[in-house]
Structures are given as structure tokens and as C-alpha cells.
Amino acid sequence: MQTCIETHGLTKRYGKKTALKDFTLEIQQGGIHAIVGSNGAGKSTLFRMLLGITTPTSGSARLLGQDSRMLAPEVRGRVGYVNEEHTLPLWMKARQITAQQKSFYPQWNQSIHDEVIGYFDVDPEQKVAGLSRGERAGLNLAMALAQAPDVLILDEPTLGLDVVARQSFLEALMFTEREANTTIIYCSHQMEEIERVADQLIVMEKGMLKNNSSPDEFVARVSYWVGDFANGLPAKNTIPGYLTHRTIDGNHHILVADQGDDFGQYLKQNGARTVARNAVNLERAVNAFLTKNHNTPDSRV
């Protein structure tokens, strides 16, 4: 299988701030790869470096086998990109923009465009400035998919969309993935979307790669324990794989990573009178991962 995205030791610093740190990732051709991470995790920086818009401080990034800093127009033509603002020329009509995009892409697939745009109510004679956010997203996605790209990068494309528009967007996305075998890199904060569409889950935190596996494998890495501790929970830094915990009705609800069934034994040895293991869903698992090192008022003390 061909590698479409490849980064090695990718690092980007803005002054003293490190946006991406020694980031190594390999994404094979095909499937929908979801990227999640809290704000400032470095997702957009990663995309910008992949597209050659930002030069890495160190390390390398390759897109469809070509160094991102020197992407040829042909390679750019094989990579679609949709950002959260759905940037389009506001002064142009939908029809004009579509015609313009069509002229750039010889592989333009009109049927995909028509199929996708069908999910949205876009008037071709309407100026972009007059389109709703959902319509603009639909137009943007239709054009990006009609380019028949090998890789499609979607940076929070459903941000600000209402439920109906989001639903249409996801359906259109899955339709394309089925029809065109496009590798889709999908960045979102919406876990239900990811749960629904992602084949692979990439978790980023503070500029570092924390996970790259299928969502199921990722969920399997996280276990959820409830324990009743007579003398309180042991110190957090002594708990192996500790992610997060909450205290509800005197019971401690603990989420840990990469621990087996013997973790229950560990809890008992450390003062738990009763221990129970519960199921965990993707959203909870991701949240636990992301909140582990997230700044909180007490963490800054």
C-alpha cells in the first residue's frame, strides 16, 4: 500500500512556543483518518506544513511522496483541502467558482460534484457571500471531492454547521470515500462524527503524536475503573497509565491507558475495598487522553 503522508521528526517552533514536536507519522493510502486534539495541539500547523505553507523548524514532511516544501502543481492537484472557514471568493457566484475550479482540475468528476451538491441546497446563481455557512461548506466539499483527489484534508469542516448540514456533509463524505477511494484526513472535535466515519484515529496533544490506530484499538487502550477507597486515591503520579479521575458519591472513577485486568488488583492493593471495570466509549476515551495534560486552574499553581 502506498504511503500518502509521511512525517519524520517534524518540529515547528514559533519563538519560544513549540507547535509541533518531533512528530513522526505515516498514513497509508485509503480510508478516513481522523485527527483529534485539543486547541493548540498542532493540527492546523501539521496541515500547513504538509501543504508547504509553513516551513518546519526541523524534520521533514512528505505528501504523496514529495517533499512538502517543494510540492509541484501536479501534486497539489491530487490533494484537496477544505478549511473550517470554507474560504471561497465571496464576490463570485457558485456557478463561476465551480467553473473556475473545474478549469484547474483535468480529472474533474462532475457526477461526484452533482451528487455531493445534491445534499445541499445551493443556488448556482447565488453569490458566495449570500450562501449560508452550510451551503458554503457543501459547495466547498463538492468542489474538493469533484477534483477526485488522492488525498483530501478536511480541517474541522463541520465547525459551526447545524445538525442538518453536518449530517449532509458526513453523508457526502462517506459517499465519496466509497466511490472514489480517496484518502481523507479529517480533523474534528465532534466525537460522534469521528466514531461514525473514521477508520483510523490519530490523537495529537501539545504538538506530539499520542495515538495512531483504529478507533476500536484506541478505545481498547483505555480502561475505566470504579473503586471505593477507604483512605482516598493514591497519588496520581503513582497510578500506572493514569489519565483522569472523578469522584462521584464517594467512589473514584478512574480512566487509565494501556492497563490490563490486573489493574484492578493494583487498585485493591492500594486501598480499594471494591473495584469494578466499566465500558468506555470513544468520546470518553479521547477526552480522558486530551484532558490528562490540559491546563486547569489547579495545574497552573
Partner: protein
């Protein structure tokens, strides 16, 4: 590329139309106030500010709008090479500018040409080309400022000074530098228009193209900086030569009254009548004659904004006479009868322009003066509109030419030529039939480059002439000359005083030469090539033939060496490759300190941590 062009033009189409209409309305309003094609400094300045300044802002804003993060990704990430994208955008910008400049001007000038008797030459139409090229230059500086990470990109606006300031001797020299500047700026924009806009220009040719004009701009910046470390401290301490003239220098004369100036200029004179002249000066009427050679020598097809006078109006016949550069004739129009009045050529009045023969046409553009004078470089004509006569009022011999306009004083009319000063009785000027013969003829005691004016003291038996200048006796050789022009034509040089002191130290006087000798020579070479008749623009040979104070050579040499060494160290610090290092070291070695400043402007403050 065409699609990008189309989309971008669509974006600004309405604005362009609005600006076109607004400009046309502005022109229409001006035409109501005064003849539209009449040169007016304030109007020209405002036009330049609005159009050329507007083009710069437009270029900057256009690219800044694209630079916004997501907009930039949308623009750049497509199967088109960046240079094609930029070309599309720039062409759209140029079309907008072209529309705003050309359409209103064509409507106005074409309308005046078609529906009035006003003289409209090709140069009036050509002015829009000048404006257009200036605006395009300015526009490209604006786009470059937005696209290039260098903090000094805006300094390339100095190119406008190089293009707009000179008054070149022909149209080729007028437009060729503009085309070159536009090509250079376009190339720099192309290389700056890259996916990652934060990366600095690294290609040696681009470094050279950008650093040279930036360094040139910096010579002015560095010259201005003397205010901080020279002028201001002296002003604060109360020792500035402007407030405390240096005794023993020419500038000291400024602090003296007119009679005292003669006394000062005659200090040390052994002339037996020196004291007599000092006393006579106290009683004399004082005046002065401008003698700085004019730098607005008109040329055929020059920009109409450079015309010294729009027309000659004769109130008696209520006629207007304008000089046509296309016909090389003075063309008349009766305001009373609303009909053409023929033309005036070198041989006199002609019934109509179409009847003019080649011998009638002037061979150079005459200056229009007052209500009835025409001046060429060696002849002054007097026009009698009523009797339709053209008389030669004064003519110089072969090889001699006027260097200033006639100076009309209380007691004399003065004509200064490249060889002599001629004083005439002012009454003769008013009399149509009297010959214009000088009462006094004084051969300049020194070349005219050495002085800017001549002080005159009217004595009972003639005039005392006082010449002064910091370069009166040659480069950096200040002095004064007192001369007695006697009634009857005899002249006597009373005293030549050489001064050893100057107002400012050598490093201030020759700051430009010191801070970058090569740029100083190049600057002068460029201007003297465009305006060879200007005495103050020197050829490289003339500059190299000068003898500067030794310290200037030393300081200039040290600055060049230090700049080159500092550039080498900075290149190492910024981990520039060999080609870039050689380029910068050579630039700094040749262009000296301004190039080193350009290095700092064209590179990040801190070395980029990129591995690659």
C-alpha cells in the same frame, strides 16, 4: 492563470469603476477651475499622492487580503505554479490601475482635443503612460511589501524617486528606466510569492536586485541619522554652525549685513582702494542676481506638468498663445472671436499652422516669459501681438547661452550666461524698438558651478559684484571674489579671498560619498545620464577627478571593509550558504554601510532555526 485573473478582476471591478468615475468627476471639477492641461505643482502633487499612493495601498491591501491564513491556503494550494497565480493577480491589479488611470485621462484629453481650440499634443496623451507606469511601479512595491518578509521592502519605493524626479532629455530615457524598474519589481514579487511567505529571499540574483535599491534608500536614511548624532547634540549644546557661524568660512558672511559682507570679503586685501570700496558699500543699493543654472531646461515632448508657463495671454487682443510641441510653433486663439489666430514661428507670424514651413518651426522649446517674451538658449524674442511682429530683443554669440531667466531688478535687468553677467537698463526692456544692449558686461571670474547668485552693490561709478561659494575656486575650495564693474565697460577684480574653514566638518559635508562611494557615483551617473545638461549631476569621471579630504577616503575604506566583514559574520550566524555569503560580502564591500543595513532588513532578526 486566466481564471485567476478573471476572478481577481471581478473582485475589484466595481471599485475600479467607482474610482474611474470619481477621478473623472475630479478632473471635470479641475477643468472648471483652470485650464485642465495647465501645469500646477499643487495639482500634480495631489494627483501623484492620490494615484501613486493609492496604487501602493491597493497593491498592499490586495495581497494582504490573500495573505490571511485560510485565504492564502485557498489561493496557493491549487494545481498552478505560484508564479502563474501571482501573474494572474498582478495582471488583474494592473488592469484595475490601467482602467482608473487611462479612461478618465483619455476622456478628458480626448474631449479637450476634439471639442476645444486648446493645444493638445501627443505628450498630453503620453502623460497617462507616465502616470500608468509610475502607478504600476508603486503597485508592485505595495504587493512586494505585503508578500516579502523583509522589513525593508517598502524602501523600494525609492525607485519612484529615481523614476519621477529626473527630467530626462528624451522619451526613451523617460520610459526605459520605468520599464526596467517594473521588470525588477515583478521579478522580486514572483520570487516572493511562494507557499511559505515567512521565508526570506535567498537567491543571489534576488538579493542583489532587492539590496541595491534598499541600500540606496538607506543612504538617505543614514544621512538623516546625522541629525541625531551631529546636528541635535550641537543644537542642544548651542554650538551648531547655523546658530554660530564659523569665522573664516564663507557661511560667516550670512551673519553679516550686506555692507559688512564686502568688508569681510575684502579682509586681507592689499588693493589700494579696498577701504574705499568698503565705505562705498555702506552707501550702496544692494541687490542680488540668481546665477544658479536652471535645471528645468525644456525639451521637446516633455511632460506637460514640467512646463514653466502654460501660455502667453495678450489682454489687448484677448488672445491666448500656447506652444505646440508637435508643431514647434506658438499657436494662437482669439477668445473674443473664438477662432484660431495662426501661429508664431522663428521667422514671425504665420496665418495658420498648416502653412508653416520647416524653417518657421523652432528648433528648441522656447520658454514663455511674461506677456510677450520668448526665450531660447541664446535668443530673447519680443512679440507684438497687435502688429503681429516678432523681434529679436537680444541674441548671444555662438557658444554662449543663458543659464537663468532674465532677472528684473529696480536698477537693472540682468541676464546671466554661462560666460558673463549682462546688466541692462530696465527702461529698454519696455521699449519695443530700442536695441537691448547691455550697460555692463562682466565675465565670470570663476566657473558658474561655483556660485549660486551674485550680490550687487550700486556705486556711483558702477557696481560691485560679490561672488561667494563653498566651491568657488574648485571643489571644496571656498572663497569670495569682489569685482568692480565700471560704467563704460571696464571691470576690475578687487580681491579674491580663499577661505580655509568650512561650516561643517568634512565627514558631514561629504557624508554620502563617505558612507557609500559607489552608490554616490552610481546615483550621479544615473542622473547625469538622464540630464546631461545639469551641472550638479556629475559623471563618474568628474567625481573621481575630485580631491576629497584624506579622512573621507580613509573612513569610506574602513566602512567598506568593516561592512564586508560584518556581513561575513552575519552570514555565518544565519547559516547562509556559500553563494549567499559571497553575494552579501561583495554587496557590503562594494556598497558599504547601506548594504549592511539592507542585510539586517532582508534577514530575520534572529537566525532561522531551520535545519534545511
Amino acid at each position: 492563470m486566466f481564471e485567476i485573473y478573471k476572478s481577481e478582476f471581478l473582485r475589484y471591478r466595481k471599485w475600479a469603476m467607482l474610482a474611474t468615475v470619481a477621478l473623472l468627476a475630479g478632473y471635470g471639477f479641475l477643468a472648471k477651475l483652470k485650464p485642465f492641461l495647465q501645469a500646477n505643482e499643487a495639482q500634480t502633487a495631489v494627483t501623484y499622492m492620490i494615484l501613486i499612493g493609492g496604487a501602493l495601498v491597493f497593491g498592499f491591501v490586495q495581497m494582504m487580503l490573500h495573505r490571511r491564513n485560510n485565504h492564502w491556503t485557498y489561493l496557493i494550494h491549487r494545481p498552478l505554479a505560484p508564479h502563474q497565480i501571482y501573474t494572474g493577480l498582478a495582471l488583474a491589479g494592473a488592469t484595475v490601475i490601467g482602467m482608473v488611470i487611462v479612461v478618465p485621462w483619455l476622456i478628458m484629453v480626448g474631449g479637450i482635443d476634439a471639442f476645444s481650440e486648446t493645444v493638445v499634443d501627443m505628450r498630453h496623451y503620453g502623460y497617462m503612460l507616465f502616470l500608468l507606469l509610475c502607478c504600476l511601479t508603486s503597485y508592485l512595491v505595495g504587493t512586494l511589501t505585503a508578500l516579502n518578509p523583509s522589513k525593508g521592502s517598502i524602501l523600494l519605493a525609492i525607485l519612484l524617486l529615481l523614476l519621477m524626479h529626473p527630467k530626462p532629455q528624451n522619451n526613451f530615457l523617460q520610459y526605459a528606466p520605468m520599464i526596467v524598474a517594473i521588470a525588477v519589481l515583478f521579478a522580486l514579487n514572483l520570487i516572493s510569492f511562494k507557499p511559505d511567505l515567512s521565508t526570506y529571499v535567498k537567491r543571489p540574483w534576488a538579493i542583489v536586485l532587492m539590496a541595491i535599491p534598499m541600500s540606496y534608500a538607506m543612504t538617505y536614511g543614514l544621512a538623516l541619522s546625522t541629525t541625531i548624532y551631529y546636528h541635535l547634540p550641537l543644537l542642544i549644546m548651542g554650538n551648531h554652525p547655523d546658530d554660530h557661524p564659523v569665522d573664516g568660512s564663507v557661511s560667516y558672511l550670512w551673519s553679516l549685513d550686506a555692507p559688512q559682507q564686502i568688508a569681510y570679503a575684502l579682509e586681507g586685501s592689499t588693493h589700494p582702494r579696498a577701504n574705499y570700496y568698503i565705505k562705498q558699500a555702506e552707501l550702496a543699493d544692494f541687490g542680488y542676481i540668481g546665477a544658479r543654472e536652471w535645471n528645468d531646461l525644456p525639451r521637446r515632448s516633455q511632460l506637460h506638468t514640467l512646463d514653466a508657463q502654460y501660455a502667453i495671454t495678450d489682454p489687448e487682443t484677448n488672445s491666448i498663445w500656447q506652444f505646440s510641441h508637435d508643431d514647434m510653433l506658438l499657436v494662437g486663439y482669439s477668445q473674443t472671436r473664438k477662432e484660431p489666430l495662426g501661429a508664431i514661428g522663428m521667422r514671425g507670424f504665420i496665418d495658420s499652422v498648416s502653412r508653416a514651413e520647416n524653417a518657421d518651426r523652432f528648433t528648441e522649446i522656447p520658454r514663455l516669459a511674461g506677456r510677450g517674451f520668448l526665450t531660447t538658449q541664446n535668443t530673447i524674442y519680443r512679440i507684438d501681438f497687435k502688429e503681429r511682429r516678432l523681434d529679436i530683443k537680444h541674441q548671444l554669440p555662438e557658444g554662449e547661452r543663458y543659464i537663468t531667466r532674465p532677472e528684473i531688478g529696480e536698477h537693472y535687468v540682468a541676464l546671466v550666461t554661462n560666460k558673463r553677467t549682462l546688466l541692462f537698463d530696465p527702461r529698454v526692456l519696455q521699449n519695443d524698438y530700442d536695441a537691448f544692449e547691455p550697460e555692463y558686461e562682466v565675465t565670470h571670474p570663476v566657473p558658474t558651478e561655483g556660485f549660486a547668485y551674485i550680490d550687487t552693490y550700486r556705486l556711483v561709478d558702477g557696481y560691485l559684484f560679490l561672488y561667494r561659494g563653498n566651491n568657488l575656486f574648485g571643489f571644496d575650495q571656498p572663497g569670495t571674489v569682489v569685482l568692480h564693474a565700471k560704467l563704460g565697460g571696464e571691470n576690475e577684480t578687487i580681491f579674491e579671498r580663499h577661505f580655509s574653514k568650512q561650516k561643517h566638518p568634512a565627514w558631514i559635508r561629504h557624508y554620502m560619498e563617505m558612507v557609500s562611494p559607489v552608490l554616490h557615483i552610481a546615483d550621479n551617473a544615473y542622473f547625469s545620464a538622464l540630464e546631461p545638461h545639469r551641472w550638479d549631476y556629475l559623471t563618474p569621471g568628474e567625481i573621481l577627478g575630485r580631491s576629497y579630504p584624506k579622512e573621507i577616503y580613509w573612513i569610506a575604506g574602513i566602512l567598506m571593509a568593516v561592512s564586508a566583514f560584518a556581513a561575513f559574520l552575519m552570514c555565518r550566524r544565519h547559516r547562509l550558504d556559500r553563494a549567499q555569503t559571497i553575494t552579501w560580502v561583495l554587496l557590503c564591500a562594494i556598497l558599504s554601510l547601506p548594504a549592511l543595513v539592507a542585510f539586517f532588513l532582508m534577514n530575520p532578526l534572529r537566525p532561522e532555526p531551520h535545519e534545511a
